[in-house]
Symmetry: C2
Subunit: 188 residues, 2 copies
C-alpha cells in the first residue's frame, strides 16, 4: 500500500488519520492476464487503484474490439459513466497482463468525500484524466495513425512493448497488417 499512499500524496497532503480512513476502505484483488474486470452491460461497482499491471478499456463494435485507452500502474480508474450513475457500462475493461488492484465501493468512495484530502485528490485526478482524454481526442482528430504510433514509440517505448499488436492497432484505428507495415517502415 506504500505506493498507493505515495500516489495520492502526489496530488494532496495526507495526514496519517486521513490515510487510515482511506486505507481501510480499499481491498486488494489480483487479475490474471486477459481477465475481464468489467463487461459491457454490467454496472461498475468500484473505483480502482492499479498498483502493478496494465488494463485497456474497449468497445465491442460489430464483433470487433476497439480500444479506447490504456491504464498503466500506478493510476486510478473506473468506468466513469457506469460508476458515477451506477448504470450498465457500455464498455469493457480487461487486464492486458497480471495486475494487482485496490478497489473501493461506490458508497465508500462517496463516504470519503467528508475528507478534504480525498476531495482534493478526487478533483485533481479527474482533471488529469480529462486532460489525458482530451489529448487522445485531439490527436485522433489531428494526427495520422503513423504519427501517433511514432509518438508512443518515443514517449512510452516500454509501455508499447507490453501491448499486443491487435489491441494497439485498434487503438490507433488501423488494421493489424497496417500497423505491422508501419513498424517495418520505421525499423528500416
Amino acid at each position: 500500500m506504500e505506493k498507493f499512499r505515495q500516489f495520492i500524496e502526489n496530488y494532496t497532503t495526507l495526514s496519517d488519520s486521513d490515510w487510515k480512513e482511506i486505507y481501510k476502505c480499499f481491498e486488494q484483488r489480483v487479475f490474471d492476464k486477459d481477465q475481464v474486470l468489467l463487461a459491457e452491460g454490467k454496472v461498475c461497482r468500484h473505483l480502482y487503484f492499479v498498483e502493478s499491471g496494465l488494463f485497456h478499456f474497449y468497445i465491442n463494435k460489430d464483433g470487433n474490439n476497439i480500444t479506447k485507452f490504456f491504464t498503466e500502474a500506478p493510476y486510478f480508474f473506473t468506468s466513469q459513466a457506469s460508476f458515477n450513475a451506477q448504470k450498465p457500462a457500455t464498455e469493457n475493461i480487461q487486464a492486458i497482463e497480471e495486475s494487482i488492484v485496490w478497489q473501493i465501493s461506490y458508497n465508500q468512495a462517496n463516504e470519503l468525500y467528508k475528507l478534504k484530502s480525498w476531495t482534493e485528490f478526487a478533483r485533481k485526478i479527474i482533471q488529469e484524466v480529462q486532460f489525458f482524454t482530451e489529448e487522445i481526442l485531439e490527436e485522433l482528430q489531428t494526427e495520422t495513425a503513423e504519427f501517433r504510433y511514432e509518438k508512443m514509440l518515443k514517449n512510452e517505448p516500454e509501455l508499447l512493448k507490453r501491448i499486443p499488436l491487435k489491441i494497439l492497432a485498434s487503438y490507433l484505428g488501423i488494421a493489424p497488417q497496417s500497423l505491422s507495415r508501419i513498424r517495418k517502415k520505421i525499423m528500416t
Copy 2:
C-alpha cells in the same frame, strides 16, 4: 445571474451566503460573433460560465482549423490544460455567435475551494466534462462521420443549425463538400 445560480444548483445545494461569495468573484463579458476568447500560445487566465451563446474549441493544424468540441450555453468551460497549469494554450476558443459569459480568475476560482458547495460543484462538472469528452472520443473511434452527423441531427437539431458548415465538417473530420453530400443524401 439567475440562470447561473440555477445551473450550479443542478449539481449542488447552494446557501445564499455561498452564492454571494461565488457571485462577487465573477464578472460579465460579451463576445461578438467570431471573436476569439483564447488564442493558441496565450495563457487561459479564466474559468467561464456561458450564459447565452455558443463557442468552439479548435486546433490550427498546418493552416487548417479543426474543431475539437462545442460549448453551448448554459455551461462552464475553460482551456483546461492551460488554465490548470497556467501555461500557454495549444488550442483556440472562439465565439460562433454573440455570447454572454461570466468569468472568474484562476486565483479566485482556487479561493472558492474553501466552500464545500463550490468544491462539490467543481468535481461534478469536471466529471461531466470528462464524460462528454470520452463520448466524443468513443464515437470518433467507432463511428463514421455520417453516423455522427445523423446522431447530432436527431439529438441536437437546433444546435446543428447554429454551426457553420466548415466548422461542423472539421469536427466530423471530413471536407465541407463531403458534409454537403451527406446532408443532401439525408434530405432526399
